[in-house]
Symmetry: C2
Subunit: 245 residues, 2 copies
């Protein structure tokens, strides 16, 4: 028996998110089925990040236990031959039998991409959120500075999320611009339900001049979801990578 | 009556190319239908570049004549409200009544993108051609140097193409690398049928070590399609822009 760790990229467009559910196809379901085809076993995947419907990933992580003779580093090749082309296992390796991707310290990096041009572009429409009015990125950067550090992020968590503590640390939040696309790149030790999308939605309001950038500190201190902006659309969000510490 | 010029971006994935044909949907057909919805007129679009099935565009150009009262610069908004989301008119303006996008001098820029990593990436699979073996980009650059300039490009033209002259000028052919993607960026005064894809297929063979980079000159001089490499897949190709001189 060995525990195999997968690094998985997917285009979330046609999936109802990571986690198995009844109302449509999920990434977890597709990967579990591919493992069954390779090993003949019904495994339980442990995923690092339960991404929402429509969210993309370049490097989500999941582990499973198997008695298969397939070497751990060959699983990526075997699984890719059974997976649809919008899910690709980029790497596979053996990890300690007690390694759990949600129960150990990690650093997650997400990107939220905004196409800020008059019209969307046909070839990146699935991976960016289009905002046609010009965003003030300097104002967005001033607001973003309040987000970094350790805070209670209740204001940036969808109501109904069941977690013990809403304190998280954001290590960095950079706002990059390239060819009409504004990328919010955020790195932290964990993110609450919809947290990145609510931060993005709030920063977009700042960029549109609808919200004072210096008010961002009060939004955090207020610990009330109603103080923050809307949840930005899923398709702009990509889980870039997870580093385990 | 006025002549309106459109700058059009599209994701070629689900289209049988630009030009109207019987075996499936085309971009020309979709745009013509949108013009009909806006103006009530049956117009004949004159396209600058008849891209193949599966090829993408950030800036193809087409013109049409209309008696519609809609101002030329407002057509982009009107057309986008009727177009599917994988076709976006980025700009519209009035041009001289005798402006024909294929009968005047222009400079076209194409990019051919190769994902050169062990596995494809789910989120760019539709817009790159995946080559898993590491490509030698220095050798590709040496071969690319033979392509620039004025040449008879018969060796890089699919057999059966009906054109008077196969002499074209390539102004530049740059090979860029970024995050596992190799981009061949080529700019010229015109391109023969499949020319960019055959140049890409030949340079990939050079990059794989299957072909001597210094042999590229003889491929051009030989004026024989059999001397060049295969036609690289359509999905890696994007028409970036057309500058009219």
């Amino acid at each position: 028996m060995k525990r195999v760790k997968l690094t998985i990229s997917y285009d979330g467009t046609r999936y109802c998110g990571w986690q198995v559910q009844n109302n449509g196809p999920t990434v977890e379901e597709a990967v579990t089925l591919a493992v069954k085809k390779v090993t003949g076993e019904d495994v339980k995947l442990l995923g690092a990040s339960r991404t929402d419907a429509g969210v993309h990933a370049l490097g989500n992580v999941a582990v499973f236990d198997t008695s298969s003779p397939v070497p751990a580093d060959k699983f990526c090749f075997a699984l890719n031959s059974y997976l649809p082309e919008d899910i690709v296992v980029l790497d596979s390796c053996e990890v300690a039998a007690d390694f759990h991707p949600r129960h150990c310290e990690s650093r997650k990096t997400y990107e939220y991409r905004i196409r800020n041009t008059r019209f969307p572009l046909a070839t990146d429409r699935l991976y960016t959120h289009h905002v046609h009015k010009k965003l003030d990125t300097e104002a967005m950067r001033r607001a973003a500075a309040f987000v970094t550090g350790e805070h209670d992020f209740t204001s940036f968590c969808s109501v109904g999320a069941q977690v013990e503590s809403k304190v998280r640390t954001v290590y960095s939040l950079d706002i990059l611009e390239d060819g009409g696309v504004i990328t919010l790149r955020i790195c932290g030790n964990g993110f609450l339900y919809n947290m990145v999308r609510i931060i993005a939605g709030t920063l977009i309001e700042v960029g549109l001049g609808l919200r004072d950038p210096e008010g961002m500190g009060d939004v955090i201190l207020g610990m009330d979801r109603n103080l923050a902006g809307p949840t930005a659309p899923a398709k702009g969000l990509t889980l870039i990578k997870i580093d385990f510490l």
